[in-house]
């Protein structure tokens, strides 16, 4: 058997109904290129314009959140690795997932934020979103508006799901999953 085992990888992608995936350091231009591919796939898949826009938005907000985080933490380029997957569930709904390494403490903070958002209905999410939109820019956010998670939560058809996998050192793998 060759390594890597492309056939097993392909079978796995097919089984998980993965349309598009990426694993590695993610640059500004890569986000754009993968985003263009995603738009084309969604068009070929005959996704409704609103659904296609929601999937694209969730992808952009997740990947840009990772880039903002990496910049804020000052991680070197090789550590900007992100794992991004766009797939469909058994009901044909689009799922946007992304994960990256974070400081354990930051991971716990974002997990509790997501759990708090999960208790809010669409009207409450809108209120929190508008409140955040009205806050003055935080220079520490390096251009992010602190709205990304809220925006994804508003576009999702189910509460966001997140996981934090610790491996015993200071870093943990954080992943976020949005069903559109």
């Amino acid at each position: 058997m060759h390594s890597p085992d492309l056939y097993a990888l392909r079978e796995n992608f097919n089984r998980e109904r993965i349309m598009l995936c990426f694993n590695g350091p993610i640059s500004r231009s890569l986000i754009e290129e993968i985003g263009n591919a995603l738009k084309n796939y969604l068009a070929a898949d005959q996704a409704l314009p609103a659904a296609a826009l929601d999937v694209f938005a969730a992808y952009i907000e997740m990947t840009q959140n990772i880039r903002h985080y990496v910049a804020r933490r000052g991680y070197p380029e090789v550590e900007t690795a992100a794992t991004v997957v766009i797939s469909r569930d058994e009901r044909g709904r689009y799922i946007v997932s992304a994960g990256n390494l974070v400081e354990v403490g930051d991971g716990h903070a974002v997990m509790s934020r997501i759990n708090a958002l999960a208790t809010l209905d669409k009207a409450a999410l809108k209120a929190v979103y508008k409140e955040q939109l009205r806050k003055p820019r935080d220079p520490a956010l390096t251009g992010g508006a602190g709205l990304g998670l809220l925006d994804i939560a508003r576009k999702a058809s189910e509460p966001l799901q997140a996981a934090l996998i610790e491996h015993g050192d200071d870093r943990a793998f954080f992943s976020l999953r949005a069903v559109i």
């Binding site: 938005a57 903002h68 809220l150």
Partner: protein, 100 residues
């Protein structure tokens, strides 16, 4: 203004536009008509657009004739919803026009 906007730091991109609007409204202007045909905006761009609408709102309150016309493709209701959310915070004329 028209098209998609999703830079990581929209303030870098929109800074000059915001400045232009601010300067224009502060001096000379007695009217400003803004025509928009925006597609996807990331949240960073939405925040920058809100800054522009806030400037228009301030000018409107001071008696300047400002107005916005937001054009969108009727096949994508998300674009109308985005416009509606901006419009909620504005009291100046804000027309949302659908196109085939």
């Amino acid at each position: 203004m028209q098209g998609d906007s999703y830079p990581e730091n929209a303030f870098e991109l929109f800074g000059e536009i915001i400045q232009w609007v601010e300067d224009y409204l502060a001096h000379s202007a007695d009217s400003l008509r803004v025509e928009l045909q925006l597609l996807y905006l990331n949240t960073s761009s939405i925040k920058a657009m809100m800054d522009i609408f806030d400037l228009l709102e301030d000018a409107h309150v001071k008696g300047c004739a400002v107005s916005v016309k937001w054009h969108y493709d009727k096949r994508n209701e998300r674009l109308a919803e985005l416009a509606e959310e901006f419009k909620e915070d504005c009291t100046f004329p804000f027309l949302i026009a659908s196109h085939e």
